[in-house]
């Protein structure tokens, strides 16, 4: 067993442990003043291994039994957050052995990292246990390797609380009329991220399968917002199921948690935890957040990462999937706005304009992780879709999910397979290198026969080759769409039109991480001259800005921010006037 703890705590390697925990049956009693967790692990041996490494339990262990024999956990000699269950003799190959681990006590919920965030809340009014992690191992979690398990979760909870755990709807709720209720759930799809949620909440469910249930604290507009969330979630899950394959769960859950949990959203297989504020003050996060987190049922749920590529392969794919689904549901303009928002955040809000490659091996330790992973990475997937074709990319992602492993190398191989050509070079330039191309564009139009020819000039700075959508708007209200293959340096293209061209638009759907400048100052319609049409183009984006908050859509297009002050306003209109009079 390779000892890779520091990295693996962030992104474990998917590989079956020598001793494989096949099942984890969790019995949690949250009805008293202490949290009591009784775990039963079904462990498959390999005939050689005698050691099961797990994250050190965060509650006092009151009992450890191996096949009925009482024993004790052993500390790891190197890592104080790791413990070991040790067998006297190696369990036989393909035989199973039972480990029972009982913990009891007050969970230490504070993260103690100075952030003020918590990993859990525990009390008679609400108990929420986020997935186990370092120093918060309330259930079994392999220390050095991903170890997926099925099983059950039983929760004994104060009767006034709604409980969610495991996967899908409860298999039973035992209510004797007095005292705690006993909720039972199954875990049928292998996972390593159990959660327990018990809160005095209302529950609203979407109508038709796939059912999405929303758990929320009543008050204000929360019911309305959660009702919207579950309805949207059900539609999104329908799309994901059709795109990536159906997940056989009878219910998916959206569960709001107090604001001192360290995430706006956390999606695991069948369960999404959302900050209360997502259906409150920060409800602009709702649609994106619900769609993104539900996508983790596939990206991080039924399939997961193998390495530092986790960010791209799980987070970027979830973000890409979210905007793709929202576009299908609400119109392409919604998707374009979402992709543009992500691209703008990457381009304009990186600290000190520093950069790191999306697939840099150190990306998870970088302060730029969020910028390049969620924002650039998801936009690059949009680029790959444009380059390979929507069907080919879908086919590739689906193949990865079917395999259960998400790796960048396999994604390239699957896209190659789907397209019949190698996309490695294009893939590498966006994901293994930093930066993005900067384009300077102009055009001029000449009469050609009964129509027109638009000569488009693109000067591309940066070592990138890409397919650039060019759209020529015509005076009759129609458009001519072309896609140009652009290389670094000067590029020239001719586009024929029947009707008179009025504007040239470069990559209007933001399929690329790129910045576009007009060759003629003020000529934001890129038609080679500055006139009142450019004023209108600026006015269409007036009010746009680069937000200071992530995931706020500032409707910002840097092309029309002529004075580059990160706001599109009257000053930019005046820039057009000044340019016109030069």
């Amino acid at each position: 067993m390779t000892r890779l703890l520091p990295v693996l705590l962030l992104c474990p390697v998917v590989a079956h442990a020598a001793l494989d925990v096949e099942r984890q049956d969790i019995h949690a009693d949250i009805s008293g003043s202490e949290l009591v967790i009784d775990l039963q692990l079904t462990v498959r041996g390999d005939g050689e291994s005698v050691d099961l490494a797990l994250l050190k339990p965060s509650l006092p262990v009151t009992l450890l039994e191996v096949d009925g024999e009482v024993t004790s956990l052993q500390d790891d000699p190197d890592f104080d957050v790791v413990s070991h269950v040790v067998w006297d003799t190696a369990p036989a190959a393909d035989a199973t052995t039972l480990v029972r681990l009982v913990m009891r006590g007050q969970p230490s919920c504070a993260r103690n990292d100075g952030s003020g965030f918590v990993n859990c809340v525990f009390g008679p009014d609400e108990t929420i246990l986020a997935p186990p992690s370092v120093r918060f191992a309330w259930a079994y979690l392999g220390a050095f390797e991903v170890d997926l398990f099925t099983g059950t979760t039983v929760v004994v909870a104060p009767r006034e609380l709604e409980v969610a755990a495991g996967q899908g709807a409860p298999t039973s709720v035992v209510d004797t009329g007095v005292g705690p209720r006993i909720w039972s759930f199954t875990v049928d799809i292998p996972t390593e991220v159990p959660v327990i949620y018990a809160r005095g909440v209302q529950v609203v469910r979407s109508g038709e399968a796939p059912v999405v249930a929303g758990y929320y604290v009543p008050g204000g507009a929360r019911e309305q917002l959660m009702t919207h969330a579950v309805g949207l979630g059900a539609q999104v899950m329908d799309i994901y199921g059709a795109t990536y394959g159906t997940i056989p769960l009878d219910e998916f859950r959206l569960m709001t948690v107090p604001e001192n949990f360290p995430f706006g959203g956390l999606g695991v297989l069948g369960n999404v935890l959302l900050g209360d504020y997502v259906i409150g003050d920060l409800d602009y996060l709702l649609e994106q957040g619900v769609s993104h987190e539900l996508a983790h049922a596939w990206f991080g749920g039924v399939a997961s990462c193998t390495s530092y590529e986790k960010g791209f392969m799980q987070e970027a794919t979830a973000e890409y999937s979210a905007w793709r689904a929202l576009g299908e549901l609400q119109g392409n303009a919604v998707r374009v706005a979402g992709v543009r928002m992500n691209t703008v955040w990457y381009m304009f809000r990186r600290p000190n304009n520093a950069d790191i490659a999306v697939l840099d091996s150190q990306v998870e330790q970088s302060p730029l992780y969020v910028h390049v992973t969620y924002h650039k990475g998801s936009s690059v997937l949009r680029t790959l879709e444009e380059m390979a074709g929507k069907e080919a990319l879908t086919q590739a992602l689906r193949a990865l999910i079917t395999r259960g492993e998400l790796t960048a190398g396999q994604l390239v191989a699957e896209i190659n397979n789907a397209t019949g050509r190698s996309i490695l070079e294009e893939f590498s330039q966006w994901l293994l290198r930093t930066g993005h191309p900067t384009l300077t564009v102009s055009s001029n139009t000449r009469v050609a026969g009964s129509g027109y020819t638009v000569a488009v000039s693109v000067d591309s700075e940066g070592d990138f080759s890409y397919r650039l959508p060019l759209v020529v708007d015509l005076e009759d209200g129609t458009s001519v769409v072309d896609v140009a293959d652009v290389e670094e340096g000067s590029n020239a293209f001719n586009i024929s039109t029947g009707s008179r061209p009025v504007a040239v638009r470069v990559d209007p759907e933001w399929t690329l991480v790129r910045r576009v400048y007009p060759d003629v100052l003020g000529d934001v319609t890129l038609d080679g001259r500055v006139d009142a049409e450019d004023l209108m183009e600026v006015a269409l984006f007036a009010g746009g800005y680069v937000p200071d908050e992530r995931r706020v859509d500032g409707s910002y297009d840097p092309l029309v921010d002529l004075n580059e002050d990160e706001r599109i306003d009257d000053d930019d209109l005046l820039e057009v006037l000044a340019a016109a009079e030069r």
């Binding site: 009142a532 049409e533 600026v538 006015a539 209109l573």
Partner: protein, 176 residues
């Protein structure tokens, strides 16, 4: 309008023939003839002459609720001269008080138009016939001088293009 002008010239000539007094000094005859007024959303040029000055008007018809408009007024600078020193002021505030207007005369190509300052401010409504430019020009030579409207772009606040018909005009100066 050209037939009308010819008629006027003929009438003047007939009167001259019927008189026994000495012929009057030559009088510059000046007129403006519009090339038409298209149906539907349109921009057309019309105008009137007085002394040696022609007042041209560009009239927008039935544009409806719009973000703005852009067009180019084209003429031959060897034949016509714009008298207004600030062409931007020749554009009435039809797009509202917060509009930003542009007017640049590039010797025969006057780039005109403007926009509401932001699409979020809603449209300006140009219902019926609305004068969007009133410009004084002076013919420099006799004969016919064309004034055309080209490269028109009219947009709604959602960015949609409004198809627009155009018609120009001709300024005619002759000697009687």
């Amino acid at each position: 309008m050209r037939p009308v002008l010819l008629t006027l010239v003929l009438v003047v000539a007939a009167c001259s023939q019927g008189s026994s007094s000495p012929p009057p000094p030559p009088v510059a005859m000046l007129s403006v003839s519009s090339d038409g007024r298209p149906a539907g959303p349109s921009l057309h040029v019309e105008g009137e002459a007085a002394d040696n000055v022609v007042t041209l008007r560009v009239v927008a018809t039935d544009l409806g609720g719009i973000l703005g408009f852009s067009y180019h007024l084209r003429y031959d600078p060897t034949r016509l001269r714009i008298l207004d020193t600030d062409v931007r002021r020749a554009q009435p505030a039809v797009l509202g008080p917060d509009a930003v207007m542009l007017a640049v005369d590039r010797q025969g190509d006057v780039s005109l138009g403007g926009t509401r300052s932001g699409a979020r401010n809603g449209p300006a409504h140009l219902e019926g016939a609305v004068t969007v430019l009133e410009l004084r020009v002076e013919p420099l030579v006799d004969g016919e001088s064309a004034v055309g409207i080209q490269d028109v772009v009219v947009r709604r606040v959602d960015g949609a293009l409004v198809p627009v018909q155009v018609a120009g005009a001709r300024v005619v100066r002759g000697q009687s």
